[in-house]
Symmetry: C2
Subunit: 179 residues, 2 copies
């Protein structure tokens, strides 16, 4: 599923500008997808040409015209077709975990720093994004936030309970290098 298709999906939830679609990526999809303006705007332009969406320009003062996109029946068909494909394996790229894999090459304080930093991000999510289920949310939205929360809680607990394994590892290497 490319960014293009996901933009189409976002438009099934309601009309939006490119700018608003970007915000949706940041706010609702951020823990399982992301996209930049450089991919969103060209995608919308192209899909307009292809008749999957249509665009209504709204003049504004002191700003570029706001372009509100709406999905067309052809666009909806195209999106449903994409949803009928089997989802591909998740693609994950975690520099955090990659670095921890080499914790034997790091100082104990560096390992501690990496983990503390991550725990802070995880806690921030749990405290701010999670738990604030509003009326307007669909079940799917609640489900996804709850999913993120469950994963983050598991991660937090695991890091707290097992960080000593890596901190000991780093300590050992530091000792053997010194001795």
């Amino acid at each position: 599923m490319d960014i293009r298709t996901l933009c189409l999906g976002i438009l099934t939830k309601g009309d939006a500008t490119g700018y608003e679609i970007k915000k949706t990526f940041e706010q609702e999809l951020s823990h399982f997808y992301d996209a930049s303006f450089g991919s969103i705007y060209p995608a919308l332009t192209k899909m307009t040409e292809e008749g999957l969406v249509n665009c209504t320009e709204q003049a504004q003062e002191g700003r570029p015209d706001k372009k509100v996109y709406a999905i067309t029946p052809a666009g909806r068909m195209s999106f449903l077709d994409a949803l009928s494909k089997e989802p591909r394996k998740d693609k994950i790229r975690s520099e955090f975990l990659a670095m921890l894999m080499f914790s034997d090459l790091l100082s104990p304080s560096r390992v501690a720093h990496l983990i503390d930093r991550r725990l802070k991000e995880v806690d921030d999510f749990i405290n701010h994004k999670a738990g604030c289920h509003t009326e307007a949310m669909t079940n799917a939205e609640k489900f996804l936030i709850g999913f993120g929360e469950a994963i983050y809680r598991a991660e937090r607990d695991y890091l707290n309970e097992n960080r000593h394994l890596l901190e000991a590892e780093a300590l050992l290497s530091a000792k053997s290098a010194a001795g």
Copy 2:
């Protein structure tokens, strides 16, 4: 952290061929990174030119010469330098979660299928990869496998406990479409 740097990291654990590096990606890094031959082989060739690794060819019968790569002191320095940078935010791309976000457009059986399929993958990991800590493993390797296991367990439990939210959502849409 690009594939190139990660290959260098893998070589800090011991000499290896491109083929073996690929296997390492599949077996040890698969839940937080992946790489294809098309990125590994050119990376090794380039790093050889740059003096970050060196290459010893071993003639073989009926097969291409095996090229065993070893990291050089310059390569080790370069990798340590990469480890000193702050890790960037994880990049995740989950078609599974993206599809669930649009579960209101899917039939209940389709939603159930997607979740069942995912649960199978998760269970497979928990039953096969997790829990088999051997003697030869470093603490970092145990930590990472344990991490994966913790996350997968949380995911499994969450899916089992909350799938009804999405299955109900889909059911509702199906009804309203029919009615």
